[in-house]
């Protein structure tokens, strides 16, 4: 969400997404950096209820003159994460120190997380270390800047970003943090978006960034578990409970063996399904 647009800010909590990114960086012109930072800060401090999604603020890069003022203005118990553009390990260390200082100074209860954006070739080469950096609980791929860094054309098919996509998905899976796929920039092509989501999901991405709220339902339709999967997971859950009473850690369901990795997969599906209220439970 562009940080300097009051009309968009005020409705930013009505879309069924996991997180909203309030942007102080590319969506804000250099002459309005001060206004956007103050507006986002006031918007957040006026928020009365716990919103139904996580709150992320994208600050300006650490190679700019704005980032310290950005942090000073927006870091509070109201936010969950700071998104760092053009992330590199050295910047992540610097950001961690700055955040610790602010958290201490403001007496915050919360430990603000960091979401680095991988949008430089140099960052791709550092992914292994970036996912291990302090506070990092998810990583976003930024294919637009990345392809311009590579001086290659960005395509809908995305062959040019296959390597960073795979690398990022694996690194995040290894450290059990969220992998967020690059946004699909054609807001009028929902079919292309659905294909792109399916491709990313198959590579192992856990989520995808939207550049327009109208993309959210399509993205959710791919990343949210299907009714069929939920039904299967519920049956695994039930069978696990019954078999555990019998002292069985491994059992068979529909002629297929259910062991720990299968139970874990079912558990993850149900966590997501319950989060999105996708399981019919009779409210008499």
């Amino acid at each position: 969400m562009p940080g300097n647009n009051p009309a968009m800010l005020q409705n930013s909590d009505v879309f069924d997404c996991d997180a909203v990114i309030y942007d102080l960086e590319d969506a804000v012109s250099v002459t309005e950096k001060d206004a956007a930072r103050t507006l986002v800060a006031q918007f957040l401090s006026a928020m009365k209820k716990q919103p139904p999604m996580e709150i992320v603020v994208r600050i300006n890069g650490l190679d700019t003159e704005y980032w310290e003022k950005d942090l000073e203005a927006v870091v509070s118990d109201k936010i969950d994460s700071i998104m760092l553009p053009k992330a590199q390990v050295r910047y992540l260390k610097q950001l961690d120190e700055a955040l610790s200082e602010i958290e201490r100074k403001k007496g915050m209860k919360k430990h603000v997380a960091v979401l680095p954006i991988i949008e430089l070739a140099a960052s791709v080469m550092e992914i292994d270390d970036i996912v291990k950096a302090p506070r990092v609980n998810g990583v976003l791929l930024g294919a637009e800047d990345l392809s311009s860094d590579l001086e290659v054309a960005r395509t809908k098919k995305g062959n040019e970003i296959l390597y960073p996509r795979m690398k990022l998905a694996y690194a995040c899976a290894a450290y059990k943090i969220d992998s967020i796929d690059t946004p699909f920039t054609d807001t009028n092509d929902n079919e292309g978006l659905a294909d792109d989501c399916a491709f990313a999901a198959n590579l192992g991405f856990t989520s995808k960034a939207a550049i327009h709220p109208n993309q959210v339902p399509v993205i959710n339709s791919v990343f949210v578990p299907t009714a069929k999967n939920i039904e299967w997971a519920l049956r695994v859950e039930e069978a696990t409970r019954i078999n555990a009473e019998k002292g069985l850690g491994v059992f068979s369901l529909d002629g297929k063996m259910v062991d720990k990795p299968v139970m874990e997969r079912a558990r993850k599906i149900l966590v997501k399904a319950r989060k999105y209220n996708l399981i019919q439970e009779d409210k008499q």
């Binding site: 009309a7 206004a35 103050t38």
Partner: protein
């Protein structure tokens, strides 16, 4: 004379102009004047008090902004006036 402007005339925003002055004056024009002018004025006076600013001329042209937007635009205008 020092002055600062912030905001816009877009829907849900407000354009706020502040000017150095030897007295306090607040002018509010709003598309929702009949329904919210007291609340808008209160936000402006409270924000000035928070900043410890006594004498300033504030002109608020409101297009249906919520309180936090008015406060943010006023703060930015004041910052810009101070330079």
């Amino acid at each position: 004379m020092k002055r600062g402007i912030a905001g816009s005339m877009e829907s849900n925003d407000a354009l706020i102009t502040v000017k150095e002055s030897d007295k306090l004056s607040v002018t509010v024009k709003s598309i929702v004047y009949d329904f919210f002018h007291e609340q808008i004025e209160k936000v402006i006076y409270d924000t000035l008090a928070e900043r410890g600013i006594g004498n300033v001329e504030v002109i608020c042209e409101d297009k249906g902004a919520l309180d936090y937007t008015i406060k943010a635009r006023l703060l930015t205008a004041l910052d810009r006036m101070e330079g």
